[in-house]
Structure formats: C-alpha cells, structure tokens
Amino acid sequence: MATQVATSFYNRLADEFETKHQFTQDTAASDRLTQLRNNAFSIFRAKGFPSIKEEDWRFTNLVPFLDLSFDVHPAGIDTDSLQQAINEQKIPGLDTYQLVLVNGSIRMDLSDLPTEDLVTVQPLRNIINESFFIDHISNNSHVGVNALVALNTAFFSDGYFVEVKKNSVLDKPLLILHLYTSDKDAFFQPRHFIVVNRNAKAEIIERSAGIKDETVTLTNSVLELLIQENAHLVHHTIQSHNNNERWLHYNHVDQQRSSRYDNFTCTLPGADLVRNNLEISLNGTATETHLYGLYLVADHQLTDNHTAIQHLHPSCQSNELYKGVIMDTGKAVFNGKVFVAQDAQQTNAYQQNNNLLLSDKAQVYAKPQLEIFADDVKCSHGCTIGQFNPESLFYLRSRGISETAARKLLVEAFAFDVTEKIDNEAVKQYVQQLIYSKLSSASVRA
C-alpha cells in the first residue's frame, strides 16, 4: 500500500465494491464471476491507483485526474444529442458499418451492422456468465499485474463482443463509436472484445466522445483483441476529444501464427488526459505487426503512449513509428518496449519515436526500451527530440509564405510520415484535415 494514491475516490470504490451494487443488479452473477471480481478487486485494493513511484507511471500523475466525486452509476442519457454526436464522429466520404455504444452498452437502434455471416456483434453482458468467457479472463495474466485492468475486471458490466467470422473479408470498415453522457461527472469502465478468426480480414475504426461538455468523464476501458492464424486486422483509433475528458485505455492484442495487426493511433489536442496502453503478445511465428502513432498535445494536456511488444516466437516482425508534436504547456510521454524472448530468433523489431517541441513550456519524456534475450535478431530503435529546422523555415519564408503558415506546413509534413501509412484514403484525408484544423495559429507560433 505504500505506493498507493490515497484518494477519497479509492475509498469510495472500495465501498462500492463491498455493496456489490454494480453487478448484482443487472445480471445474476455466477459464483465464478463473483470469485473473479473479488480476486480482481483485491489486486486493485492492494495496489491502489498507480502512483508516480511506479516505473510505468513515472511521468503521468493520475492524482489530479481523480479529484472529482465521479458518479459510478451514470444516468441521464440525453437521447436528442446522440444522433448529432454520431454525425459529428462519422468520417466524411467513408462508407462504413456502424456500431454505437452509449455509456459502454451497445445501442442496436443506432447501429448499422454487417450481416451475421460476416461478423457477429453481441453485448458483453450476454456472455458475461459463460464459462469460456470467465476462463479467458481468469487465464489472462495481465489482469494480475495492472491495477487499472484489475479495477475494470472488478466492475465492468457491459461492452461489445465482436467476432469476425472465419474466412470472411469485411467489405467496408466497421466504425465503432463510444459515446459517453451523464448529468454528473462520471466514471466509466467498459470492457470489449474483438476476435478476428482464421483467414479473416477486417478494418475497424474506433472513436470515442463524451457528449456533455459541462461534465467530466473518466473512462477506464479495456479492450482485448484476438487475431487468429492468417487473419489481418487494421485497427484505427482516432482520439479527437474535448477537455473535461480523461481517458485510460488498455488494449491487449494476442496475435496467432502468420497473423497481421496494423494499429494507427492518432491523438489530437483536446482531452485533459489520454493514456494509451497497447500491449501486443506475439503468440505464434511469422507474425507481422505495425504500430503507427501520432500525438498532438496542446494547452495543459497530457498524452501518454505506452506500447509493449512481446516477441515470443521465431520469425516475427514488428515495426513501430510514433511521432509527437507538443505545443503550449502540453506534456507527452512515450514508452515503447520491445521484448525478445530467447526462442524468438530471426526477430526483426524496429522502433522510432520523434518529437517536435513547439513551445518553451512543452515537455516530453521518451523511453524507448529494448530487452533482448535472443542473439539472431535485428532490433533497433531511434528517438529524437527537436524543433524546426530554421533553414526549412527560411526556405518557405523566402517564397512568400507567412511564418505561421510555414510553421503549420512543417508540422503537417512532420505528421505526414505517419498519416501517409494509412491505406484508407478517406481516413487519411480526415486525419490530415483534423491535424490542420486543430493546429491553432497561436500554438504553432514560436
């Protein structure tokens, strides 16, 4: 308990758990599930909220973000605003299937889903008591080591379970919209699963938004992805938020033999706090993994990207490129871990992280990390922190471009290295346009 952040919120959660109010009301919880939750909560109780004394949270102090009396049973869905929010979150010019969740629960009436032979979608609460589901969660070791995942496990009640059928290729992307709304400041803990079965291919775009500007939302979401043999998943996360939103994401990817996973995480200025944990376990040989990240941080925001790739089997490839632009008094944290086990010979692991600091009050903390136990590997990482090349700026200025425009252009060019990797043309255009619109002139100015 020494490192635990003692907050009243922690105590409130403990009381909440004691009364077991949360889950006895919506499902008749099986004994195993109750047992699982009790274990998970005892882990959280012991660890508490992560503190800056923990290596993974050294630069991200959660305490200021837990200061409100968050409502753990949010109520008051404002139906009128939902449709408007959905329209705002849609990507122009892109035809997609659509899965809408409100406060972590699926709203079929607002969704437009693919046919059952391609993809099945069901609310997580339907399977929450199934033994295969409980087996899965019990066997997942990361629940044990991560306090926030444990907290989620203790409390989650709903989420989505998306399964892409064997051999099916999704004809258009699936857009998953997470909308959160509450009359009061609220704490959400959804839990989601994506399974991409053998030889299947899918593209999923995830977006989240808190609808009410005046209330603060804190979300601790856990998403587990299983990518079966030869399957291929392209996974976009576009995080364009408003202030008063605080996000803690934990995504765990389990990749089987010869599978491929492409992740694009774009974080634009907006949310007070975004913490992305992306953990990939390569549980088969000959897998391919691409992680592309872009983070733009402005105002007082804090964006923290933690990625971890576990190379456990031979002949796997991973490639990671994260770029960040930090403006105003923004703070960015990047931690990229690549672990290569002794059996993982012929591993190719590549990682690069570049940061552009645009203000004298901006901060960046980068920690690329390699842990290698095999000798027949090619592993490298590169990391830079810098600013504009004055010569590039001069070049543009000498051609009659104003300083602000020139700076904007250079930031875009910097981000282009990541956005150009997006295959989906409409998504690429959309992200680029978001970058341009979010770069306020004031932030870019020296």
Binding site: E55, F59, Q342, Q345, Q346, Y350, Q351, Q352, N354, N355, L356, L357, L358, S359, D360, K361, A362, Q363, V364, Y365, A366, K367, P368, Q369, L370, E371, I372, F373, A374, D375, D376, V377, K378, C379, S380, H381, G382, C383, T384, I385, G386, Q387, F388, N389, P390, E391, S392, L410, V411, A413, F414
Partner: protein, 500 residues
C-alpha cells in the same frame, strides 16, 4: 522538412543466420575461460572486526586522525544509509548483502611513507608485477605517476615532486584531509551528497581511502595520473573515495584500473568518484575495470556498485568518462555529468563485456542545466555466454538549457543464444530549442564477416577478436595511449578461447 533531425536507427550489416559449428565450440570455450589474475597476496593486515555501526565509523575516523567536521559528515552518511532501502529498479536480481559481515577497515601494517619504490614491501611489488602493472617500468616509460591503493592505504606515490612543482596536488584522500582540509571540506560530497543513494551513503560513512587531485588555475597536467585499485583482503569491502578538482583553465587526464584476486566470497565495492570542473577546465576520466567476475557458475566475483558523477560547474568546462568494463560479477554504475556551466560538454564512452553469468547494468546520465551544453554518449555492449548487459541512460534537458545538444548511440553485440542485451534510455526535454538524438541497435556477429576473414587465412577466433575490437574501436580510441593498448589486450583476453 522539419528538422527534428531524424536519427535513422541503423541496422548493422550483419547476417543473421545460424552460426557455424566450430563457432559453438568457441562459444563454449568462452564460457570456460577462467580468470587469469587470481591470487592472494600475503601481507600482514590490520583488519577491523566485521560489522557496521556508529563505533566502526568513529573508529575509522579516529584511525585516520580526521578532523571533527569529517567525522560529523561520516556520521551523517551513516544515518542516511540506515534510512535508505535497497533499490529495486535495477535489471537484475539483487544479491543479498549482509552489511554486518563486511569488515570496513583494512590497512597494511607497515605504514611507513616511501620516497622510492625500493622501500616498498617486495611482496607488494610482486603483486603489482603479476598484475602486469610494472610500477618501475611505467615510471620510466610513460611518465605515469602511480598512486597505488593496496586495499585501503596508499603505499606508493610517484612523481609527486614533479607534480608538486606545478602546484598539482595528487595524493591519497587521507593525506589531503591532513594537508589540504580546506579543499576537501569545500568539495567533498558537493557532487555526490552523503544521502545520494544507499551505496554512496555507505561510502560516505566508511570510506577508507582513495585519491585526491587538485589542478590549480591554468595548469595543464603534464602526465596521465593513475591509480590502481586492488581488493586484497577477504571480506574487506572497498570503499574508495575519489575527488578530482580542476580549477579554472586547467586540464587533467586520470586513469583508474583494477584487477582483483580470485576468491569465493562475493565482495562489495561501493566507490564514489566526484569530479569538479570549473571554468574552462577539462577532466578526462578513464577506467579499465577487470575485477574478478566469479567462476563459470557465477559464484564469487565482485559487486561493483559505484557512484560516479562529475559537475561541469564553470562555463566551457568539459568532463569526459571513458570506461572499459570486463570484470565483476555485477557492474552497476552510471557515470554522470551535471552540465551546469554554459557551453559545457559531457561525454561518455563505454565498452562493457559480460560473459558467463556476469551482469552489467551501466550507462550514464547527462543533465543539461546550462545553455548551449553538449553531450555525447557512445555505449557498446558485448554479451557472451549467459551474460546480461543493460544500457540505462538518462538525458535530461531543463528549461534553461537553451540550444543544448545530445547525441546517443548504444549498440549491443550478442555472442551466443543465451545472453541478453537490454536498453533503457530515458529522454526528457522541457526545452524546445534543443536537439536530442538517440539510436540503438542490437545484432550478432555476421557469418559473412567471419567467412570473409576466414577466407583470408584468419582463424575464427582471431576473426571474432578483430570484429569485436573494430566494434569497440570508437570507445577504445578515447583512452590514453598506454591504456588503449592494455584495454585492447584485455578485450581480446576476455574473449580469448571463447570468441577471440
């Protein structure tokens, strides 16, 4: 293009296919090669009873006839030591250290001061000769003044007179306490405070001896200063304290090298080195470390837990660390530089070799505090057998360190499939005018490279030695000439009958 000056992390042009069978034999031999410098010198010793308490601290201080302020300082260090917990963030399993089983003071009984080497106990000289440090030869050959620390007491100081003429003070720290207390009091603990970390606190409390160097204003030290440390008595942890002060506009190059005799019991070595460079001064600190690494199973061997830190206090000052680490069961140190003065420069060059079950968790910290400061880090790790090699580094830029610049390169070479290479770089910037670059690669020796050399009549063992030496060249080049030769030999010797 924006000029974040992308350091494209390079991939060494090695080939990553199966290594040849005879290579495997060589690897086995590497794992089998034994430490060559194991022997115990039999000289009468005065040893304090094992155990650590306030009385021992007082006893050490009294034995050394120290002034009150120093005793006070030692006691403060002892109190800080008691308050601290063992660190747990390191990348290896921390061995149990029973501080009560260590004897904190040992001194050769013949305590006479020598003016020439002839007066030194011949057995002691033999030890040095076995170590391949011919004091007498070095005197003549390279003009190296050697302040030899044999266990805890300095027994021979050469070239002292010549240095005296220039106003350079080069003596043991106990002597400095007696003759130059004002300097010691001013600078001791000013870079590594008594409460810095548990090992530094322990050292502050019980440091036995060490070297003291003061270079006066504007003096360029005409020779390489060097101290050979050597652990000799069983159960005597060594707690050296080195303090080097380069006054304005001066220059000094300091060499530290060590070998230790073979024994079974683990020995703790918790030294502290403090460097202070004032305006326009430059300090170059080179280390060749070849302490007893333990046997094949990892039994015995030295724990080398050292706190080394330099402060570039003045403008345009420079501190450069160069280290070649081949010994010790566990090497755990981060020679660091505080870049306080404007335009000051910090450098860190390191080669760390681990084989058998050796562990190295080493790297550097560069704190950019003043404007226009520069730092450069080149770290080359070589892991063989079951050795584990970690680079852990911090580059920190404060908001006043405008236009600062850092370049970091850390490469790892893996020999054998049971070793490990790890990198933990921390890169932190609060300044938008700085440029920081970091790159790291991990690879093994390519079959095609070995084949190329084989083809030209060079056997595999020599080929590997050649490749490893080439790999480490960038660092070895930084060493002073005599040391570079020794280091190169050491590197080949370490990997001899193994990989080269």
């Amino acid at each position: 293009m924006p000029a974040e000056r992308v350091a494209v992390a390079k991939v060494l042009p090695y080939n990553f296919t199966e290594i040849m069978d005879n290579d495997n034999n060589i690897l086995e031999q590497l794992a089998n090669s034994e430490y060559e410098y194991g022997f115990v010198t039999d000289i009468d010793m005065e040893i304090a009873p094992p155990g650590l308490n306030e009385d021992i601290v007082r006893m050490i201080s009294a034995k050394k006839n120290e002034p009150d302020w120093l005793l006070e300082w030692r006691l403060k260090g002892f109190k800080a030591f008691l308050k601290q917990e063992q660190p747990h963030w390191q990348n290896f399993k921390m061995p149990e250290i029973d501080y009560q089983k260590i004897s904190y003071y040992a001194a050769p009984k013949q305590k006479a001061k020598y003016n020439s080497l002839d007066e030194v106990d011949p057995e002691l000289l033999k030890t040095f000769e076995k170590l391949g440090i011919p004091l007498s030869e070095q005197k003549a050959l390279a003009g190296v003044a050697v302040d030899a620390v044999f266990d805890s007491i300095s027994v021979a100081t050469t070239y002292k007179e010549h240095l005296n003429k220039l106003g350079i003070i080069f003596c043991s720290i106990s002597e400095a306490v007696q003759h130059h207390p004002e300097l010691v009091q001013k600078y001791l603990g000013s870079v590594v405070p008594h409460s810095d970390n548990i090992f530094a606190s322990l050292n502050s409390a019980v440091f036995s001896d060490g070297s003291f160097v003061y270079i006066p204003k504007g003096v360029r030290c005409p020779m390489e200063l060097s101290t050979y440390f050597r652990i000799n008595t069983e159960n005597t942890g060594q707690f050296e304290r080195t303090l080097i002060i380069a006054d304005e506009g001066s220059y000094v190059s300091y060499l530290e090298g060590c070998t230790a005799p073979m024994r079974d019991e683990n020995q703790l070595h918790a030294a502290v080195v403090e460097l202070i460079a004032l305006k326009d001064a430059e300090i170059k600190y080179s280390t060749v470390q070849n302490w007893y690494p333990g046997d094949k199973e990892g039994n015995g061997g030295i724990y080398n837990f050292v706190t080394k830190r330099g402060a570039c206090r003045g403008d345009r000052s420079k501190i450069s660390w160069t280290q070649v680490e081949t010994g010790s069961a566990i090497t755990w140190k981060y020679p660091s530089v505080l870049l306080i003065g404007e335009h000051s420069v910090g450098e860190f060059y390191s080669v760390a070799v681990t084989k058998n079950k050796q562990i190295a968790d080493t790297g550097t910290k560069m704190h950019h505090i003043g404007a226009n400061t520069k730092s450069r880090i080149i770290s080359k790790g070589i892991s063989a057998g079951q050795g584990q090699n970690s680079y852990r580094g911090l580059v920190q830029v404060g908001n006043k360190a405008n236009y600062s610049r850092n370049f970091t390169q850390c490469d790892s070479l893996l020999i054998g499939d049971r070793c490990g290479a790890h990198t933990f770089p921390y890169i932190e910037s609060k300044n938008n005018t700085v440029t920081i670059e970091h790159e790291a690669t991990t690879s093994k020796i390519g079959e095609d490279q070995i084949f190329y050399l084989n083809q030209r009549g060079i056997d595999t063992e020599k080929a590997v030695a050649l490749i490893v030496n080439g790999y480490a060249k960038e660092v070895l080049n930084q060493l002073p000439m005599e040391f570079a030769v020794e280091a190169q030999k050491l590197l080949s010797l370490t990997l001899e009958g193994s990989v080269g």
